[in-house]
Symmetry: C2
Amino acid sequence: MEPDDEAFLADFRDLARIGATAGGGVERQAGSAADLEQRAWFADWLVHRGFSVHYDQVGNQYGLLEITPGRPWVLTGSHLDSQPLAGRFDGAYGVLASAHAADRLRREWAAGASSSALNLAVVNWFNEEGSRFKPSMMGSSALVGNLLLDVALETADSQGHTVREVLEPAGMLGDPVLDSPGLGVCERGGIASYAEIHIEQGRRLEKTGTEVGIVEGTWAAHKFEILVKGAQSHTGATVMADRRDALLGAAMLITRTRELADGAAAPLHASVSELYVEPNSPVTVAREVRMHFDFRSEQQAIVDAGVAELWAYAAEVETRTGVQIIQVAEHRWDRRDYARAGLDLAEECATSLGLSSARLLTLAGHDSTNMSQYVPTVMLFVPSREGISHNEAEDTGDIDAVQGVRMLTAVLRRLADDALG
Amino acid sequence: MEPDDEAFLADFRDLARIGATAGGGVERQAGSAADLEQRAWFADWLVHRGFSVHYDQVGNQYGLLEITPGRPWVLTGSHLDSQPLAGRFDGAYGVLASAHAADRLRREWAAGASSSALNLAVVNWFNEEGSRFKPSMMGSSALVGNLLLDVALETADSQGHTVREVLEPAGMLGDPVLDSPGLGVCERGGIASYAEIHIEQGRRLEKTGTEVGIVEGTWAAHKFEILVKGAQSHTGATVMADRRDALLGAAMLITRTRELADGAAAPLHASVSELYVEPNSPVTVAREVRMHFDFRSEQQAIVDAGVAELWAYAAEVETRTGVQIIQVAEHRWDRRDYARAGLDLAEECATSLGLSSARLLTLAGHDSTNMSQYVPTVMLFVPSREGISHNEAEDTGDIDAVQGVRMLTAVLRRLADDALG
């Protein structure tokens, strides 16, 4: 391993201490104390290497390397925020890999070994995970114009605290950093291309012994929130026929969601993982349940068919249980493909580094899913041990991790040469 | 209506202002600010009428009328604590009716119109509802020895606050007030009999136009808490076959619970109304669900059969979903009958007052369910409009309410004469 590789692993270990959990993972939900701590750590890291640090209006954190004033920017990054009781790699690996890759190029260019046609910026997107504040991919959605800034800032967590309330006192709400459709323009100019690296969160690379994944598309996703409205009554005294049990209605929808996934014509990932019960008392039938559904498939039509079947069943649940079922929010993205030129570029980089690569789809959404709508985008994966994700046991081997940083460095070098221009 | 009736209704309206909700109900969960406020209000009411106010070691609140020092006590009461978003009558009606009935007898005896062989005490049991602190009927369970005092005091709510922590600073933890198996003895002596009045929480009295219900028995109940253990993973990326979804396992148990109730050989009330999900994030499959089951029937065998079928199904759920299902707590009572002599006595009182009465069973548990194990107990019901219970819309008409107080007064007069001695 080279000194640069060792430096990356040492920094990654440092970062993983912030919000560390007893189970070997991290808990650093968006805007939490641990998230603010790691943002300060990251700002410090960037400043010490000559990056200038900025925040845009939705709290995305940037480290800028202005090489050729007036030219567009190559942007690279991921997110530091995590799920509750999460792994160390999801998002954080990509942010640190981006920073190390950019710093390597900075040193290369400073040494005169090569030059750059464009400027280079590293980004730590705000709230990719969406566990505390919905929707997920908030920072990149606001930047590309998929989410209104005011809606993002006024989003409240389950305790009623808004995004604005956590970011403003931390000094993490600023002005546009780079031009974008969602956050407006500034003097620095726009984004030419975007690159992100992430752990796979699946088993395909590991199973096939492939070192780098080149993402050619994102699964379609449809997420929505449903309110099941029943009526409070006594669990002991109320006769069964008189009940309108919101939790029963919710449970029927959850079991059907799994049946729909199991019976779909092509792979459909469908689940409910968040649910609030009112009044949530042991002896009072629930008057209301709010629940979040997540449907995903490679094919948009499979997602649509699954959701349609769920609503048909919801009508049946209403009739059978006397509850009322209404949708209160939704968030969706269609199947999206990454720019073909970026796939070819990444493949050439892998070959030149002697790394095996394969094209694959991402089942999870990423900030790159948003960016790919807006600019040519390269999305890379490194292997995940057993595909474990959103879990403290999530892991990626050291060799895979450092190879990923080298791969991203090579891709950024080409992007900074305006290879996708 | 007589002045005493008007006074009762005026006091009831006063009491209903404490913790009043916008929907016309109250929210006064055990140990909450509203509960402490109504306890202070009630202590004041008692003291102004010559009762001495005391608290035992589990926070039960007593108003004592010592008539014949050294003689046993007739105890009467119910509970002021409520469910979240509850009605005004559940429990509170019975406490205030008991206090008014006792005060009428006090005045009677002071005027020399009659005399009493025994002493008289009013009680406001701590935490009958069990919504904040489990189990329900906590204060009476501790008194009769069905629940260890230390277990009761160390019970924590979902925020981690214990019963001791809320009652001690309020000065509501004292010494034994009357002798009991669970809380020990004192100088005042023991309890001869117990009487309680409550709204029916069912429709039988209303349907048949009956003015007073005389409770001959309590349905059997079995409540238990289950932990469903799965594994955290990504709702988008994790293939369905790899998931161990705790919320799916929980939902299957909820739907089956309803099927068991619908298919039971005799009426079985079975439900889940309280459920906590971890981590409860929109994009992370639940690793753990804690849920509370409530099974009740007139026949113990029907409850037992339902619970056994649920566990058989739980084993199937474990196999099908990969979760683990374990019981972590339980609370149960068998079908219990009230003393026959008390039923006859109550019937005679109703007849003498010209009130129609009927014997019936209570589906809900009451503090009298505990007391009936220990001393001769009379349990009375007044009609509930549409049987609505644990709901802000809960209601009992004024006439029914004041007739109930007269009925309870008549019963207490007989009990104070040691009619069940």
